[in-house]
Amino acid sequence: MDRRKFVQFGVAAGGALLANSALGQQKPGAQGPARPAPKRAVFPGGQVAVTTPNGVTLPLKEKDGVKIGHLVAMPIKHTFAPGLEGDCWGYNGRTPGPTIEVVEGDRVRFYVTNKLPEPTTVHWHGVILPNGMDGVAGLNQRVIKTGETFVYEFTFNHPGTFMYHPHFDEMTQMALGMMGMIVVHPKRPKGPPVDRDFVLMTHEWRIEPGARRPDPNEMTDFNVLTFNSKAFPGTDPLVVGRGERVRIRFGNLSAMDHHPIHFHGLTFELTGTDGGEIPAAQRHPETTVLVPVGSTRVIEFVPNEPGDWAMHCHMTHHVMNQMGHGMPVMVGANAQKIDAKVQGLLPGYMTMGHAGMGDMAEMGMPVPKNSIPMVGGPGPFGSIDMGGMFTILKVRDNPDTADPKGWYQHPKGTVADRADEALMKADGIDPDAKFG
């Protein structure tokens, strides 16, 4: 390659990178576990920028006092977790779309280009704006046809946590992944400042094991539950510092389900909804926050106990991946009796679930292509038998340098383990005690 061609190539490659950057795109696989969010005080009053685990923030450029952004609605290929890819729809090459982060009072101009095979619109969920910008197809605007670019321009007059999503054929478009979060920082923040600010969009999908297309027609039996469109073990952990003040903003654009998100190892207070801030006097400690469909919930907490803490939807089927529900309970059956009959016909058959499903992740049974086991991610003590809407809050003393992939090193004697027989005897514990 001569120098001239090298320069041309460099310009072209650089241009592509810039274009991707301008859209908040990232190539699939380029993203790694979220490094701890740097304490960038980039918003008024020292507010830090939000972090979208497994996601990005929409780049905005400012011109004549207006912040300008570009959303491209488009078909995408999305990896929910290693081994499970989907043919989805999203914005700027991803689902959820890039997080829009602005400040109260910002005038914005969002260009929306439709590269979907059908029309779309964008509704700015929870944002109070001029009626013609609200994005409801047929009511507030005509649809954005395939290939068209529309422009939305309005001012964010209220701080808070909001969402955006289509309001044309939303059943299909949202089921396929078209949604994103909006964070509007207050011009004059109140209360103690936070050190970390995360956004997590909860969602639910139906993807048949072996299929690639989420099923928009599904109404009840969702089998892939996600934070920011990732199912455990695909979810990035949230790394925070002990004693730091942490904010997590949840959104829920699931089709049918609310999500009670439960935290281990801490209590939090609900500080806001998409309706606004909750007065300090009305806040109270919780360990589980219910995020209803079509709502946002903001919580804040200060973790004081270091460790790797589970954080998950408490609906037990929402922490399973691609769980099927059309089969009989196998618990308690004698697997050998069934195997003896069936394996004569099907040598590859093995009765499963007869002793519960806790060890399913370690059975290593072959499953259909493009599907993932119901549960299972690597943990420091073995497989973590969770899936779906599950992630890990990693509370560290040194969050800015901690390895997001690393596990908490427990002080000696602080991990539950097999009981010592002498201790049991001394404490009067009889493991063979009979009841009933």
């Binding site: 196998m330 069934i338 069936v342 016909l345 058959y349 499963m352 499953v367």
Partner: protein, 480 residues
């Protein structure tokens, strides 16, 4: 008065001798002539050996040898040709026609009349009359009658040659049916095993309190219905064996033959489709027989006309002895064909000829249609069988493998896995039925090209003839 005998004694002795010689069995000749027909067509595999009359109860030597090994279709044909008693009877029936031919060529016998008379007048001497009468018309008509009988003999020979083909065809298709029914039984048994596995799983799950009694009962019903399917399949196999036994002429210990090979996959050899209709018409024993029958009718017309128009002629000599001397003389009797000139027989014979001419044309049309139908059936069943083997069965196997993966992914139950397995079995049954239809069609096409198109069991087009294992339909749904 000197008398001169009309026939010498030696001449009479010769005639009697000739008659005696013609009375022996012509079976060997008849068999050889039919074999010669097939030799001329380069079908030595259809040679038939029929034992002499004195050995008629004995089994042909090659039959035990063929029965000692697992049968194949060719061996079944050989046994049938050597041992089928109906076929042997057919060869004897050629003898009937041959006898009629011989009879038609025999000279009419002279009639001699003696008469003695005594007068009531004692003075009158005893009178003796002697007369000899000979049917000259019958003598003159011998060539014509012989011609008719010869044509009938020829037609009969062709009919029996056709029966040889029929016997071989029946043996071959009966053998194919045995193969198919044997495979069906194996597959039905496999389906039963799948139902039994489902029932075992249901029993365990019911015992563990995981499924209700209704699901267990449904699985039980499926198992028991599948048992019926197996029993029916066993019966069908027995029927098929007995059908083959009858065709091969076997009984007693001879019926313990075995079959090992399954129906072969469709032949990859190109079909001999060139000028197939023309070849079939040229080879057709049915048309050849009809042609011979037309010849018979045509000759009957000639015979009837000649008989009708020819004055009845007879002649003879007469001698009368009046006690003193002989009076010798001759006479000729001529019947005048004034009223009865065989008009009725001529009409019948002509009508018979006309009917056969039309039947010939109809048979030729039917033959051509059957050729096309059989060729279409061979091609159609062959393609379907290939499709089953190369596409449907692998697809079912793939579906089963994927169902097992779905089971591993906890998406489906063991009952659905077993249901998918039964689908493989069911497809196997459909494949076997299609193969049977293919080989039957192939045998039918070969039969037509060999010269026979009637009585072919092509069966209904496109019917696989299989049914789902009895318990299959609702079992998977019954348990989740």
């Amino acid at each position: 008065m000197k008398t001169t005998p009309f026939f010498s004694f030696s001449a009479l002795a010769l005639l009697f001798g000739l008659s005696a010689g013609c009375a022996s069995s012509t079976l060997a000749t008849d068999v050889r002539e039919v074999d010669d027909v097939f030799k001329a067509r380069n079908r030595r595999d259809l040679a038939v050996s029929v034992p002499d009359e004195e050995d008629w109860e004995k089994t042909a030597a090659e039959v035990p040898k063929l029965l000692a090994k697992p049968l194949d279709a060719d061996a079944a044909v050989r046994i049938a040709l050597a041992h089928n008693r109906d076929l042997r009877a057919a060869f004897y029936e050629i003898g009937i026609a041959r006898g009629q031919f011989v009879q038609a060529g025999l000279l009419p016998n002279p009639e001699i009349e003696f008469e003695l008379r005594r007068s009531t007048d004692p003075a009158q001497p005893l009178q003796a009359d002697i007369g000899l009468e000979y049917d000259i018309s019958a003598l003159l008509l011998i060539p014509l009658r012989k011609g008719v009988a010869e044509a009938e003999l020829s037609a009969e020979r062709l009919r029996v040659a056709g029966e040889v083909l029929d016997t071989a065809y029946r043996a071959r298709t009966a053998f194919y049916t045995v193969q198919a029914r044997r495979q069906e039984l194996d597959l039905r048994a496999r389906a039963l095993t799948a139902f039994q596995a489902g029932y075992a799983a249901a029993e365990e799950l019911n015992r563990a309190g995981n499924i209700p009694d209704v699901d267990l009962a449904t699985q039980r019903a499926a198992v028991e219905s599948a048992r019926i399917d197996v029993a029916e399949a066993e019966n069908l196999l027995l029927d098929a064996r007995e059908s083959l036994n009858a065709t091969l002429g076997l009984s007693g210990e001879q019926t313990r033959w075995t079959v090992e090979a399954p129906l072969a996959d469709p032949s990859t050899e190109a079909l001999p489709t060139e000028q197939l209709e023309k070849r079939a018409v040229e080879a057709s024993f049915e048309l050849a027989e009809l042609e011979a029958r037309m010849q018979v009718s045509s000759r009957r017309v000639g015979l009837a006309r000649t008989e009708g128009n020819l004055p009845h002629l007879s002649g003879g000599f007469h001698g009368e002895h009046d006690g003193f001397s002989w009076e010798l003389g001759g006479h000729v009797t001529v019947g005048l064909p004034v009223f009865n000139r065989n008009q009725g027989r001529v009409i019948s014979a002509r009508s018979e000829l006309g009917a056969q001419r039309e039947r010939y044309a109809a048979t030729a049309t039917a033959l051509r249609a059957t050729v096309r139908s059989a060729l279409n059936r061979v091609e159609s069943t062959g393609r379907r069988a290939q499709h089953y083997r190369q596409v449907v069965l692998p697809a079912r196997e793939k579906a089963l493998a994927e169902t097992l993966l779905q089971y591993n992914a906890m998406q489906v139950s063991v009952f659905q896995v077993l249901d998918s397995q039964r689908q493989v079995t069911q497809t196997g049954m459909a494949y076997v039925e299609t193969l049977l239809a293919y080989w039957n069609a192939r045998a039918a096409l070969d039969q037509i090209i060999a010269g026979r198109h009637r009585g072919l069991g092509l069966g209904p087009a496109g019917a696989s003839g299989t049914s789902m294992p009895s318990g299959g339909g609702g079992s998977a749904e019954a348990v989740h």
